[in-house]
């Protein structure tokens, strides 16, 4: 055990002296994260969704609600079209739209008087991400409206109340509304997600921000790069002769390998903790299951490392090892759902992707993070992970003791 610890410490020290390597492994994932944030935060090239709105209420407010999709960043992402309910359902079934929003009768009234109101959103299952955006935006709108109601409910009741309001009351009200909307918009525009966690609403659930959708994939991309980068170090140690030198000591090669896996685990754990903190802070990733998720990420990193290490030790030369690593790294990362989340991949790709090692681990990670797994299922997943790691470890040590050493 002491040999394991000594070896891990040695590798972590070496990593600390070579921060450029780590920076290089993290550069692409961070770049992707920033790009995604840029694209979907400001949506230069965001996908366009079509939102059908069936308004059964026909009030001043129900008219205004879909109009809010025409403001700011959302207007370029979502096209709003008013339809009647039947044709709306028909078109949605034909896949002609991303979602259908049904505003029930009495919605405006309920809203003004601070009674619970229910909006119905039917999303298109064949599209993966656009309905998500709409759902997300809508929930933010609803949350926003909730505040609007709190702030300016009185004035709004006045304006849309019974009888014609006086001109002065309209002016008063619009000044107040204007001020309130502006203060609310500060929170709504661009960082939509800011409001995400805060509000009560009885709207359709599953409110995951765009950033949060991309976050797990980007984290696992970082894991893949770290795993591949660290695995290359085995060749460095072989070429320099330090591996052979270890083999001449009483410390077993297995301890040296376990030390390397432990170092990988520690590094990935640190990256996952930092990533998770950043995700929670910047992207609105829910952190209620952060602890098991972070541990899962660490374990996944160690397993991916051992798999990449096995691949590296199967190569006959260092150059071959680099070539092999590059050969599998990008395709696996891509199909495993790290560049594009499996939610927006064509379903056939997503189906393959979930059986890649990283795709599979990523799938469990998302489920753990979302709280979609019972404690028993999580424990079973960890046991499976440990078993897979043990098998890969055994394979790697067998290679290292054999032809790889000399």
């Amino acid at each position: 055990m002491r040999f394991v610890w000594i070896s891990a410490l040695k590798d972590l020290r070496r990593l600390r002296r070579d921060p450029m390597a780590l920076a290089m492994w993290l550069a692409l994932p961070v770049f992707v994260a920033v790009t995604m944030n840029f694209v979907f935060g400001r949506q230069a090239a965001a996908p366009q969704g079509r939102l059908l709105v069936a308004d059964r209420d026909g009030s001043f407010l129900s008219g205004a609600l879909p109009g809010m999709f025409n403001q700011g960043p959302l207007s370029r992402m979502v096209l709003v079209e008013k339809v009647n309910e039947d044709s709306g359902r028909l078109r949605l079934e034909k896949g002609d739209a991303s979602a259908l929003l049904i505003i029930p009768k009495g919605f405006g009234d309920a809203f003004l008087n601070n009674r619970p109101a229910r909006l119905e959103l039917i999303t298109n299952r064949s599209q993966r991400i656009l309905p998500g955006i709409i759902e997300e935006a809508l929930s933010v709108l609803v949350e926003g409206s909730f505040y609007v109601q709190r702030l300016i409910g009185d004035q709004m009741r006045l304006v849309s109340g019974n009888g014609r309001p006086s001109e002065t009351s309209i002016v008063e009200a619009s000044v107040a509304i204007n001020r309130a909307v502006r203060s609310v918009m500060r929170y709504l525009d661009p960082p939509l997600i800011e409001l995400q966690t805060s509000v009560v609403s009885d709207e359709p659930k599953q409110k995951k921000s765009f950033g949060a959708l991309f976050f797990p994939g980007v984290l696992f991309m970082a894991l893949m790069f770290i795993a591949a980068g660290l695995a290359g170090d085995a060749w460095k140690e072989r070429t320099r002769g330090t591996l052979r030198r270890v083999a001449c000591t009483p410390s077993p090669i297995a301890a040296w390998t376990a030390g390397k896996a432990l170092a990988a685990f520690t590094l990935v754990l640190a990256v996952a903790v930092l990533g998770m903190a950043a995700g929670g802070w910047l992207l609105g990733v829910s952190l209620s299951h952060a602890l098991p998720a972070v541990l899962w990420a660490g374990g996944s990193g160690a397993l991916l490392y051992l798999l990449m290490l096995f691949l590296a030790t199967c190569a006959s030369t260092e150059r071959m090892a680099t070539f092999l690593a590059n050969l599998v790294l990008l395709p696996l990362t891509m199909i495993g759902g790290s560049f594009f989340p499996s939610e927006i991949m064509p379903s056939s790709f997503a189906a393959i992707g979930q059986w890649t090692p990283n795709g599979f681990l990523l799938g469990r990670f998302k489920a753990i993070l979302d709280g979609g797994m019972t404690a028993g299922a999580i424990a079973a997943a960890f046991a499976g992970l440990a078993l897979a790691a043990a098998v890969s470890f055994w394979l790697v040590v067998r290679r290292l003791r054999g032809t790889f050493l000399v």
Binding site: F3, I6, K10, R240, G241, A247, C248, P250, S251
Partner: protein, 309 residues
């Protein structure tokens, strides 16, 4: 003590080590002298447990290397041919790691690191990353990492390759000190000057076989105080051999169209006789090199080629 009996290691058809036997005793420096590819590194690899021998018996301090490798390696220090260091880490950290994997712990390890740094003259650069070290400093640290745990058996594989003269002198002194303090030292080299200056006993190896073994004096005696004479020019090999056979006490080691190698006593006095005999045989001599008896000449005598060819 290292006991090697009938050691063989083959790679496919190639016998890298082909029936090597020797015993290196406690307190002595035993040398393995041979050209590149002779099988020195392979021999050390088998003794250290890095390679599995094809056949033969190996014992280090009484422990069988194949059956009880861990116990054998606990007594062993190896200074490999390559500079096997972590060059992102400092000298101190390298020593800490290599001492640690040998099972050492603080505070003994800490004290020993300081002592070894002092010994190898690296104390003032102890905290610097090794990648900033000169070749000679790296070689000294490579050596230091092999002795940090005070091994009973120390094996050094060409530890002075690519080292400046100053570092080389210091390194050889350090090796001598190890033997004096009771370690059994196995030293491989292809520099015969080193072997002559350092080793109490040695084995001359070529193509995986030991071609001569003994103390320096014993090996010199094999040459019987014969000088080595090398003649260059143009020769008819058969005629030259025939002509020289008629002169007493000359042994022809090698004869081809451009070169003759002869072994003979008191060569300088017999040069005229040799020249006239060769002239009669139609030879033309353009260059002459006379070498006093040495390991080099022994090697040439035994193998018909130079050590550094």
């Amino acid at each position: 003590m290292i006991e090697v009996a009938e050691l063989r290691k083959s790679y496919g058809d190639l016998a890298a080590v082909d029936g090597v036997s020797f015993t290196a005793r406690t307190g002595e420096i035993f040398g393995l002298l041979g050209p590149n590819g002779a099988g020195k590194t392979t021999t050390i690899g088998c003794i250290s447990g890095l390679l599995t021998p094809t056949s033969g018996h190996l014992r280090v301090m009484g422990h069988d290397v194949v059956r009880d490798g861990t116990a054998a390696r606990r007594t062993l220090g190896v200074v490999p041919q390559e500079i096997a260091l972590y060059d992102e880490l400092s000298a101190e950290e390298n020593l800490g790691y290599w001492g640690g994997v040998q099972g050492m712990r603080d505070p003994v390890l800490g004290r020993r690191i300081q002592a070894v740094l002092e010994l190898t003259g690296l104390l003032d650069r102890a905290r610097e990353p090794v990648k900033r070290f000169s070749g000679g400093m790296k070689r000294r640290l490579n050596f230091a990492c092999g002795i940090v745990h005070q091994p009973k058996v120390l094996m050094l594989d060409e530890p002075t390759v690519g080292v400046d003269p100053q570092s080389r002198v210091r390194l050889l002194e350090l090796v001598r000190e190890q033997a004096k303090s009771g370690a059994c030292v196995l030293y491989t080299t292809h520099y015969m000057e080193e072997a002559e200056a350092l080793c109490d006993r040695l084995a001359v190896v070529d193509h995986g076989k030991i071609i001569a073994q003994g103390t320096l004096a014993e090996l010199r005696a094999m040459l019987a105080e014969h000088d080595l004479l090398r003649l260059q020019g143009s020769f008819r090999p058969e005629a030259a051999r025939e002509a020289l056979r008629r002169i007493d006490g000359i042994e022809v080691l090698q004869a081809d169209e451009s070169q003759l190698r002869l072994s003979l006593a008191a060569a300088s006095r017999r040069l005229p006789q040799i020249f006239s005999a060769l002239a009669e045989a139609g030879a033309e001599v353009r260059g002459t090199t006379l070498t006093q008896p040495s390991l080099e000449s022994l090697f040439i005598k035994l193998t018909g080629k130079e050590l550094r060819e």
